[in-house]
């Protein structure tokens, strides 16, 4: 994704995609001119994040000030999470390769505000490892040495916060059962803040410019701007800084260079939010409106399906990916993802053959969409459950009932 397009929503004064960063990495001098690494009084940072209403950008959207406050007050550790396990997302890689100093600055700020004794940057993609190494080499040694870099092999669950701590502690990058949550016992057994790298960079912006400035864009419930990854059947797929509250349709017309009308559906929140029908195009891209539309913002990635793609084909392909990518630690995840993949494959095949989808499969998908949420040691199975729940709805909404209208289009292989 780092070679893809990048840009700023029309009329927006960007906070992260500043200067020439849409087209090249910023130099340390340019970063310093933008205020990066300027001292901040750590005492007031968390209260300012609360006033700003900053929410985590890794996918869960949890209020940042609550997470930061939960680990403070004693010995603790902060980890900047740049692993970006979600396959449809590229925004963390954009940030780490174009503005690595903004991430390092945010991580150091988080360490100062929480009183953390260790600050770790958790990475997997080689281009991000290289960019961060180059950035650290530009810094005075006494600053660079305050951040450790921990590199893991890329996979979806490696970015889950308990997997992050497990790996930093020397174990496998696999999720662990809760409790304890990482804010109770994570790295070194200490309360640990695991924060997405975009959240950290935005927190540093807020700490220097204030909550009121942050709220000049966005909506009251979803204030500010965010990095979005646009993918799929659009002219300019890539990473864009946009205000919360524009419609999903506007993301594609203003940034993606494509009128999305006629699409059979969209993959929302990376792949985690499942498939939405075209009705979501008129929903506002913010937490509350997408939730009301039965979808989710997740890590800020939206994939536009092409007009000739079939929802049933895409859903079956994604379900197969979930079954293959499950870490296999939890029986319910191993068997649940296999069951969903089997059912969606049979629904697809029935449609291609011109027949009706097996009623037992439709009933199973509907049931698993609810019953498998919150099961397993991490949220991976929730993603598969979201797919099961939304695929049926999106198929019907797009005029491609998962119950199987005949279509002549051949099934398409989807790259993962």
């Amino acid at each position: 994704m780092t070679s893809a397009h990048a840009g700023v929503y029309p009329g927006l004064t960007p906070r992260l995609m500043i200067g020439e960063s849409a087209s090249r990495p910023l130099t340390l001098d340019e970063e310093r001119a933008a205020g990066t690494y300027e001292p901040v009084d750590p005492g007031g940072v968390i209260a300012e994040l609360e006033r700003a209403g900053l929410r985590g950008r890794g996918g869960a959207g949890f209020p940042a000030h609550v997470k930061w406050r939960a680990v403070g007050g004693g010995r603790c550790v902060v980890v900047g999470n740049g692993e970006e396990g979600e396959p449809a997302s590229g925004k963390d890689r954009w940030l780490l390769t174009r503005r690595p100093h903004a991430v390092l600055d945010g991580l150091l700020l988080a360490a100062g505000a929480t009183g953390a004794g260790r600050a770790v940057l958790y990475l997997s993609h080689q281009e991000t490892v290289d960019a961060v190494a180059a950035a650290r080499a530009e810094l005075p040694p006494e600053v660079a040495s305050r951040v450790e870099v921990h590199v893991v092999a890329h996979r979806y669950v490696a970015g889950e916060e308990s997997a992050v701590c497990n790996s930093v502690n020397g174990g496998p990058a696999l999720p662990k059962a809760k409790p304890p949550r990482v804010y109770e016992a994570g790295v070194d057994g200490l309360p640990t803040l695991v924060s997405n790298v975009e959240t950290l960079a935005m927190a540093a912006w807020i700490a220097r410019r204030g909550a009121a400035a942050y709220r000049e864009h966005g909506t009251p419930a979803s204030p500010g701007t965010a990095l979005v990854t646009l993918r799929g059947a659009c002219a300019r797929p890539g990473v864009y800084e946009v205000p919360y509250g524009v419609t999903v349709r506007q993301l594609f017309t203003a940034c993606g260079g494509t009128d999305p009308a006629g699409t059979p559906g969209l993959l929302m929140g990376g792949w985690f939010g499942g498939i939405a029908g075209p009705g979501v195009l008129d929903a506002r891209w913010c937490y509350d409106h997408l939730a009301a539309a039965g979808s989710s913002l997740g890590c800020g990635s939206v994939t536009l399906l092409a007009r000739d793609e079939r929802v049933a084909d895409v859903a079956a392909g994604l379900a197969r990916w979930y079954a293959a990518e499950s870490a296999g630690q939890c029986g319910v995840c191993r068997k649940g993802t296999e069951a969903i993949a089997g059912a969606l494959a049979r629904v697809r095949d029935a449609g291609l053959a011109g027949g009706a989808a097996p009623p037992a499969d439709l009933a199973g998908l509907e049931r698993w969409g609810t019953s498998l949420r919150g099961k397993g040691a991490c949220a991976f199975l929730d993603g598969a459950a979201n797919l099961a729940r939304t695929a049926i709805l999106a198929g019907a909404a797009a005029g491609h009932p998962a119950a199987g209208q005949h279509h002549r289009n051949p099934p398409r292989e989807r790259a993962s």
């Binding site: 999720p175 409790p179 029986g331 319910v332 995840c333 068997k335 040691a377």
Partner: protein, 64 residues
């Protein structure tokens, strides 16, 4: 009191659902599952502790 199952350890023996059916059940894939949010009903604390003690995989935790 609240009960938790470590699903990375559960192998589906089902002892938990036998010992304390008000808190544990076997899901449709054959693994132990918490009913509701895992809150142990008043009067069932001993059964919940027995479920934890008798799990062959030591997959169950009960917290006061």
């Amino acid at each position: 009191m609240k009960a938790f199952i470590d699903s990375t350890k559960c192998s589906g023996y089902g002892a938990c659902a036998d010992r304390c059916p008000s808190v544990f059940e076997i899901d449709e894939f054959g693994f132990g599952a918490i009913i509701g949010d895992g809150e142990v009903p008043a009067g069932d604390a001993d059964q919940a502790r027995a479920a934890a003690a008798d799990c062959p995989e030591h997959a169950i935790t009960v917290q006061d």
